[in-house]
Amino acid sequence: MSLTLENVSNTVDGVDYVRDANLTFEAGSFNVLLGRTLAGKTSMMRLMAGLDKPTKGRLLYKGEDVTGKNVQSRNISMIYQQFINYPTLTVYENIASPLRLAKMPASEIDRRVKETASMLQIEPLLKRYPLELSGGQQQRTAMARALVKDATLVLFDEPLVNLDYKLREELRAELRDLFQERQCIAVYATTEANEALALGGTTTLLHEGSVIQSGPVMDVYRAPVNTLAAQLFSEPPMNMIRGRVTDTEVTFDEYSHHALTQELAALSPGDYWFGIRPSHIALVPANDDDLEMSMEVALSEISGSETFMHVENSHFEMVTQLMGVHQYRTGAPVKVYLPINKLFVFDNDERLVHTPSRISGGAV
């Protein structure tokens, strides 16, 4: 039981909302569509739901072509960004509506509604009307209605974006557990890289309607196919520095020269893009072959347990993610250290050629 998109494209009035997408989602999998606003996430989900018909390509479900099938006949459910519930029905009736339409016996409906409601902790609210509830409770009602009918495909269109920071965290954890043992296909759209990492399963990177990369979340995270994928899948974006490799050394932006260690020896001479994650840049050398660069503090942003420090010099600027709180005046000089074994290397056409080896070390 899998859902496959075969060369699916959707062009409306000359605008390519989805460009030649080839994806397969297995039963029981939790799939995250990660991309910036207007990257085509919602358009792709609408194609999967059958709300829109693709202008090209086919949609296969369990091998059967369902491209044209109307949405009523597909066993799917969808949760929107703006807490869409029937305002004229109570929470109980809202959750029960798909079952009533499926002509299920009343006792069965009652059992399943109560069970799903308690699963999402909204059982005490069953008699209330959705508009009387808080944002979080309204979204839980919408989720309960989506889950009560055991749809084979459940679509989430950035469902948590209008909720409080802390509530988002809790609902994300609940969602992960809810879908742990379900056999349906879940597809979750988001703009936040952290949400993709937290929800696990597979990640599909979307940019301007095209699929950049798709696969298990850690494979995509650890081996981004190109610089765009690397930047899409990290928050704040991965630092990219121009560099040239010669037989003996590597120079960054014609400015800082470093000996070529055995780690990078495999690279043939030429121009490259070097990527380093903000969390791997340290203020103190961890190993002797770290690349040292002297920079100036542009801004330090503290977020509870971490500090995002923007450092720059005349050639390039970088963001570092440090544990704990570091208070620096803007403009203060600072030395940063880039562990060589944490560098990603992309060739001139921005394709990945080298990923950091997984030996220990790195900034704790």
């Binding site: 109307n70 799917i76 459910s77 004229t88």
Partner: protein, 268 residues
């Protein structure tokens, strides 16, 4: 915007000026014709309900109200039944010629009734509908249906399309969704549209008078015809006038919270 004192005074003055003519009509309706012609008095000296008694007992009078009520209600029902699906189509879909159709409806709302007097007269006589409630109800659709489509479309645009899609996903067929989910969500819009259809049909006289003679004569026609031999019976005329205002005030009370949005054709 805080409600300053000067605004309160201003609005009270305006409302007083606005209601003075109606007060004068009311004042007239409680006087006998003789007292009216006798001289100008601010309060009816000898207060009388005779005028109203006449209206409520004389069939040629009260039939006027019943006839008006009849064709107005038929018109409101027809207008809603026809306008609701059309407004839904305009608010949800782009289709061939939708712009032109919408403009054509608008132009009909603006069509001077006088232009249609003659053709209506002939059309309804030829199909044997002359002097019936249906004739007037259908004629009033000329301006009420376009207005209803416009107001309802404005209200419907306020409901995001995600609600339709969610219902389809849940398994609702279009008709079931439209009646059980969508219409309850725009209850206020339907109420306001019914009020406007009622109002514009109730106040119109030219078409109503031309298409009727005896059986379906509206109250307005009866009033304009009472310029009988013995001159105008002002008291009776005033009483009849007062009674035509009451239905409108009653109906507006029920839709008072949404009527402002309705006035702006749902555009706000």
């Amino acid at each position: 915007m805080r409600q300053t004192r000067s605004k309160n005074i201003g609005i009270i003055i305006y409302i007083l000026l606005l209601l003075t003519p109606v007060y004068w009509l009311l004042n007239m309706s409680f006087k006998t014709n003789r007292e009216i012609l006798g001289g100008l008095t601010f309060w009816p000296k000898n207060f009388t309900l005779d005028n109203y008694v006449v209206i409520f007992t004389d069939p040629s009078w009260y039939n006027g109200y019943l006839n008006s009520m009849a064709y107005v209600s038929i018109n409101v029902v027809i207008t809603l039944l026809v306008a609701l699906p059309a407004a839904y189509a305009f608010s949800r879909y782009k289709f061939a010629g939708d712009k032109h159709l919408f403009f054509w409806l608008l132009s009909n709302r603006m069509a001077p009734p006088a232009v249609f007097l003659l053709p209506f007269f002939q059309l309804y006589s030829s199909i044997g509908l002359f002097d019936t409630y249906i004739a007037v109800a259908l004629a009033h659709c000329l301006f009420n249906v376009p207005l209803a489509v416009w107001i309802l479309e404005g209200f419907m645009k306020g409901v995001p399309r995600e609600y339709d899609e969610m219902a389809y996903i849940d398994g609702y067929s279009f008709p079931k969704f439209f009646i059980k989910v969508f219409l309850p969500m725009i209850r206020s819009g339907i109420g306001v549209t019914a009020f406007f259809a009622f109002m514009f049909s109730w106040v119109e006289l030219l078409l109503a008078r031309t298409l009727t003679s005896v059986d379906a004569q509206p109250i307005g026609a009866i009033m304009t015809r009472t310029i009988g031999a013995s001159g105008i019976d002002w008291g009776l005329l005033a009483a009849a006038g007062v009674l035509t205002i009451i239905p409108g005030v009653l109906v507006i009370w029920f839709v008072r919270n949404h009527v402002a949005k309705g006035f702006a054709l749902g555009r706000v």
